[in-house]
Amino acid sequence: MVSHSLALPMICFTTLWGLVGIVAPFFVPKGPNRGVIITSLVLTAVCCYLFWLVAILAQANPLFGPQLKNETIWYLRYYWE
């Protein structure tokens, strides 16, 4: 999948975790465990989304690049796209 910039993954994942954390709680069936399930969903969504967001933002504008061995560079030059 060709991603043009940061925007596409951002939209995708925000929607995904938004669905899990904000929309899904409305569809939890009524019962004694409703509170637990909703809390679990919201916490999962928040934690996972935050974790992913930090990871992608940290790589968005790198200040320095990876330092590779010359053999690795040689291999990557010819075998990676």
């Binding site: 993954p9 990871a55 690049g65 990876p66 010359n70 990557l76």
Partner: protein, 797 residues
């Protein structure tokens, strides 16, 4: 939502029921297990309570049951387990049970006594039997002595008598001064083997050898051992002496050594007769003993069938009487008043249970429930199921939540890798799932990365014509670093999910990862703490302490946001913009200079106007400190002054007939905490919060540290254990690889899963308990302990 976030809403209910139906009603409530009885007679000591006799009776019954159980265990009788619920016995049945128990106990004790007596008799008979058999030899000797000595001789006759069974020293002795037919008297008995040497010594000292002593050990047969309950070695002895006087002395000595003396007949014929009678008596005794034992086990077996049932009945009775002791008995002796705490949601079931109880007892009047308002703090009750039980137990270990404050038992605890052993299986499951997710984000699976989406970094643009590298640059340098400024090297869009796989093969991987993980830890930490702070706001709203919101919550929030929220903003901003690497300012230095108000023109800023914004943030934060410290005590002081003035003016306006004590006692009751205490408490709280902010934020860096340690361990295991195994090219390589893989697996499980898992759980728990909960949790409640027969039976087993 409320069921997890807060403890249940409890209400205080007054119960009225009749004395006859009391037992059944309390029984039903106990089966329900949702009701905690309040002690209505706290001033009364345990001995003065109304049902103290009945409780004592129950305890006595329990003692008897324990005695019965011990007897059963000694006789290896199986105690049957009961699984059905028994009906509670009413007071009449209690008397019946009591008498049954007493009868059983008496019977058993009598049987045991008889058994013991019979046993003793049998042992004695056995001793006599052995005595008779062994002294046969001695008597033969004595007779030869007599026949020898009839040859008149006044010389001393050496008597070196050594019978193969005796162990006395061989020495001759004389029987002087005797002429004519010897008239030997003797004493026969049984003595414990260990006492025999001392016995012999005493006799020698007393009588200087004027006696003949023979002894032989009794053979210890199995039967004897069973009778005596253990091997006790005994010796048979017989002493031949002359003269009555001496015999008396010897008798006294024997008494002193606890030797049992038996009269032994002199003639052979009589001895044979005695031996036969002893034999028959022993046979009889053995039969009687066997019968006694059979009877005893019969009694115990019959009791064993009911033992469990009785036990739980007695336990229930005791619990019911104990509960009745907590209630108020009306003076007219017809009504019992009880006060209970119960969850509001369960009022209907409590009512139903009470109606059931009164129907069972056959009374026509249904019990009355009367809910009353109270200012007392109810107990804290969190309804849990098997999923939430583990988490709740952990929170309660820190401190039972104050009534209805937010319950921090959220289902997700861990922010770092791997499984855990403490707590419930659901905690382990959730930690495991999140660890897998973390592994995907860090792109680290057994220290290797997945390349699913393709890397954002490419090497080719670094070469001519687009980049600075030549082919010979490759040959000359061992390590070369990619430069993101060169166009095409960095594709412009970061790796979609997680860390780019190229970092795994880079030699400066740690430079990037450390920076990333540290900043991530700080961001997660500040988010966690802000969440905790928000929960304190929710608590304030719930308990209607709106003043606290402005005095406590807002200053804390502003302090935290202006310093650490700004730090988070700096981190995120720096990540979002593209900078040239030479001019990029370090966030750490920026932050330090901000606090020190150190702004030089050569320090580059991230965005225009940064200086002004930063000065504003720091000043705001500093201003919040005195607000947090002083405003609340001042307000409290002002309120007290105002109320005191009001009391004075009321007092002046009132008629002198008004009681002066009541109006003075009112403000004193509210002034339970003095001004000094308020100031000190607020000062401590301010310092704790402000300094705590900094230290707690740094504390979250443990997330980075654990992650780094774990990654390094994983890499070591790969590089030192598995990779050499895969590189083996010898013929035995496959076998070696198998062994190395076994080592790899064991080390992975032991170190990375078990040890690191425990460590992760522990650190996560610490972060939760300290850094998160000190923003809002008080934890000063008392736990709801309902009367529940289920938990009683559980403790019994």
């Amino acid at each position: 939502m409320s069921s997890l976030f807060r403890s249940e809403e409890m209400c205080l209910v007054q119960l009225f029921f009749q004395t006859e139906s009391a037992h059944n009603c309390i029984n039903e409530l106990g089966l329900l297990g949702l009701v905690q009885f309040k002690d209505l007679n706290p001033e009364v000591t345990a001995f003065q309570r109304r049902f103290v006799k009945e409780v004592k009776k129950c305890e006595e019954m329990e003692r008897i049951l324990r005695y019965l159980e011990k007897q059963m265990v000694k006789s290896n009788i199986e105690i049957a387990e009961t699984t059905e619920r028994e009906m509670v016995p009413c007071p009449r049945d209690v008397l019946e049970l009591e008498s049954t128990f007493e009868k059983l106990e008496q019977e058993l004790r009598e049987i045991n006594r008889n058994h013991d007596t019979l046993r003793q008799n049998l042992i004695e008979l056995m001793d006599i039997d052995s005595l008779l058999r062994m002294t046969e030899d001695f008597f033969e000797e004595a007779e030869t002595l007599l026949s020898c000595s009839e040859a008149p001789s006044e010389d001393s006759m050496p008597m070196t008598i050594s019978s193969p069974r005796t162990t006395r020293r061989n020495s001759s002795f004389s029987m002087t001064g005797i002429s004519g037919p010897l008239h030997l008297g003797f004493i026969a008995g049984v003595i414990k083997q260990e006492r025999f040497p001392a016995f012999e010594k005493v006799l020698w000292r007393l009588f200087h050898g004027n006696f003949v002593l023979r002894h032989a050990p009794i053979q210890v047969t199995e039967e004897v051992e069973a009778m005596q309950r253990g091997p006790v070695k005994k010796d048979v002895f017989i002493i031949f002496v002359q003269g009555e006087h001496v015999r008396e002395k010897i008798r006294k000595v024997c008494e002193g050594f606890h030797a049992s003396l038996y009269c032994c007949p002199k003639t052979l014929f009589e001895r044979k007769e005695m031996s036969n009678s002893v034999m028959t008596r022993m046979e009889d005794l053995r039969i009687i003993l066997r019968r006694t034992e059979e009877y005893r086990s019969g009694v115990l077996k019959r009791a064993a069938e009911h033992l469990h049932e009785w036990g739980s009945k007695v336990k229930k009775m005791k619990a019911i009487y104990y509960t009745l002791n907590l209630c108020n008995i009306d003076i007219t002796q017809k009504l019992i008043v009880a006060e209970i705490w119960c969850p509001v949601a369960d009022l209907a079931s409590v009512q139903y249970a009470l109606v059931n109880g009164s129907e069972q007892s056959g009374s026509t009047v249904t019990p009355v429930l009367n809910r009353i308002q109270t200012k007392q703090t109810p107990p804290t009750f969190n309804r849990t199921n098997s999923f939430t039980e583990g988490f709740q137990a952990i929170i309660d270990a820190y401190g039972v939540g104050t009534y209805q404050e937010i319950n921090p038992a959220s289902p997700k605890q861990s922010l770092v890798l791997m499984d855990v052993l403490l707590g419930g299986r659901y905690i382990i499951l959730l930690m495991g799932l999140f660890s897998i997710y973390t592994g995907l984000i860090y792109n680290d699976c057994f220290s290797k990365s997945f390349n699913i989406f393709g890397s954002s970094w490419s090497v080719r643009p670094m070469f001519h014509p687009r980049g600075p590298w030549q082919n010979k640059t490759l040959h000359e340098n061992h390590h070369l670093q990619l430069d993101p400024i060169v166009p095409g090297v960095f594709s412009g869009h970061p790796h979609v999910f997680g860390i780019d796989p190229i970092w795994n093969i880079a030699s400066n991987k740690l430079s990037f990862l450390n920076s990333f993980k540290m900043k991530m830890s700080v961001i997660l930490g500040i988010t966690h703490m802000l969440f905790g702070l928000t929960l304190s706001l929710v608590n304030f709203v719930h308990f209607r302490k709106f003043q606290e919101i402005f005095l406590q919550f807002l200053p804390q929030l502003i302090f935290m946001l202006s310093l650490f929220g700004y730090l988070t903003f700096l981190v995120l901003y720096k990540w979002s913009i593209s900078l040239s690497s030479e001019s990029a300012p370090s966030i750490l230095l920026l932050f330090i200079n901000m606090m020190l108000f150190d702004y030089h023109p050569e320090h580059t800023m991230l965005y225009p106007g940064q200086k002004a914004v930063q000065i504003f943030m720091v000043v705001t934060a500093m201003f919040m400190v005195p607000v947090l410290l002083l405003v609340k005590p001042l307000l409290v002081y002002r309120n007290r002054m105002k109320s005191r003035q009001q009391v004075f003016s009321n007092h002046l306006n009132d008629e002198p007939a008004a009681d002066p004590h009541s109006s003075f006692s009112q403000p004193q009751k509210e002034e339970l905490v003095s001004m000094g205490d308020v100031c000190v408490y607020q000062g401590i709280h301010t310092i704790e919060f402000c300094l705590g902010c900094i230290s707690n934020t740094a504390s979250y860096l443990r997330l980075w540290a654990l992650s780094l340690a774990h990654a390094e361990l994983s890499e070591v295991l790969w590089r030192m254990v598995l990779q050499p195994g895969l590189k083996l090219s010898s013929s035995a390589g496959s076998l070696m690889l198998a062994l190395l893989f076994a080592a790899f697996a064991v080390l992975t499980v032991a170190i990375l899963l078990v040890m690191e898992g425990l460590s992760a759980f522990l650190h996560a728990l610490r972060l939760h308990w300290v850094e998160f909960q000190n923003k809002f949790y008080e934890g000063s409640g008392y736990k709801f302990t309902p009367l529940s027969f289920d938990s009683l039976t559980k403790t019994q087993q």
